[in-house]
Symmetry: C2
Subunit: 186 residues, 2 copies
């Protein structure tokens, strides 16, 4: 458990905004379960609890320059739909080839379970993700609860035990030293 979390143990403002079971509900823009992780705010709009474990949905608000290094999650299919901004997504193909694509507004990327991938935010972005149910909790487990979409506060840097516990809970492998070719493709 990280120091920042210990310092603010009360429930975040979003506690209870999702029903936790398959019931209808609506959210206004920016509503949901917020968690800060490094410089990003992740907002869970739908969890596996509402879909019988099928899928969850979240929005990531990410500043320019944000880099998520190479990793893979063997149980989780993940998607990137760019609502605004520009994000370069790197992914390793089944034949081992490494490729990337610069995604802009309305573009889409799919990373299947097990594929090594990474991304770099080239212009401040709002990314909608849908992923295998349960994965949406990763950002809360590795990050720290937040009351709002919060791009101003200092980054939240989890300590190593917190990172490792979140990764273990989602069968995620970080891939230190994994190199991507210089991006020449658009």
């Amino acid at each position: 458990m990280s120091f920042a979390y210990v310092a603010r143990p009360e429930k975040p403002a979003w506690s209870g905004v999702l029903p936790g079971s398959p019931q209808p509900y609506f959210l206004r823009k920016g509503e949901g379960e917020h968690a800060k992780l490094f410089t990003d705010t992740f907002t869970v709009m739908l969890s596996g609890d509402e879909t019988g474990g099928q899928f969850g949905m979240f929005v990531a608000n990410c500043p320019t320059g944000d880099v998520i290094p190479a990793h893979a999650h063997d149980d989780t299919h993940e998607t990137f739909y760019i609502v605004e901004g520009r994000v370069r997504v790197y992914v390793q193909l089944p034949d081992g080839e490494k490729t990337s694509r610069l995604l802009g507004e309305g573009d889409f990327g799919f990373v299947p379970a097990g594929a090594a991938h990474a991304y770099r935010v080239e212009a401040a972005a709002r990314i909608l993700g849908a992923a295998t149910g349960g994965f949406e909790r990763f950002f809360q487990q590795m990050g720290t609860p937040a009351d709002t979409v919060d791009m101003q506060s200092p980054p939240f840097v989890p300590d190593m035990p917190r990172m490792q516990a979140a990764a273990r809970a989602h069968n995620m492998r970080f891939l230190p030293g994994f190199e991507w070719p210089e991006a020449e493709t658009p």
Copy 2:
């Protein structure tokens, strides 16, 4: 099979744009598997074939005034994320109460499997949907393949056998005569 489909039996331009198995891929805005259904164009970006049946994703381009009448699908959880425009989503709650919400850009709605729902497009909209895997094919089965997002061509109105076959394939019940209260809530 409808007359319009018989008239153009060749493969649509999008044939093969999705891999059909869990492999990485990217799509530019507007790419995907297009189908026209009534006045709307549905673009499948991800199908259950890529996610082991977990979930699919699609974008619906809908003109102002479009109405989708009351229905329910007992096997399918469905979501509405408004990328642009305004859409009033009507849904029946577990206690029988009928409610609605006018959703704008960035707003979100969840309709669990089995819940009666409907929607009305109040300003031309682009709606991103994620739903239980396989449901994304409904729009293709009830509609007709299209080469592009196509808001100009005449509506595609399926004949009754085509509608019934698509509904049967997705355990969908149309609910004729289902009334919604006048919307007073925002």
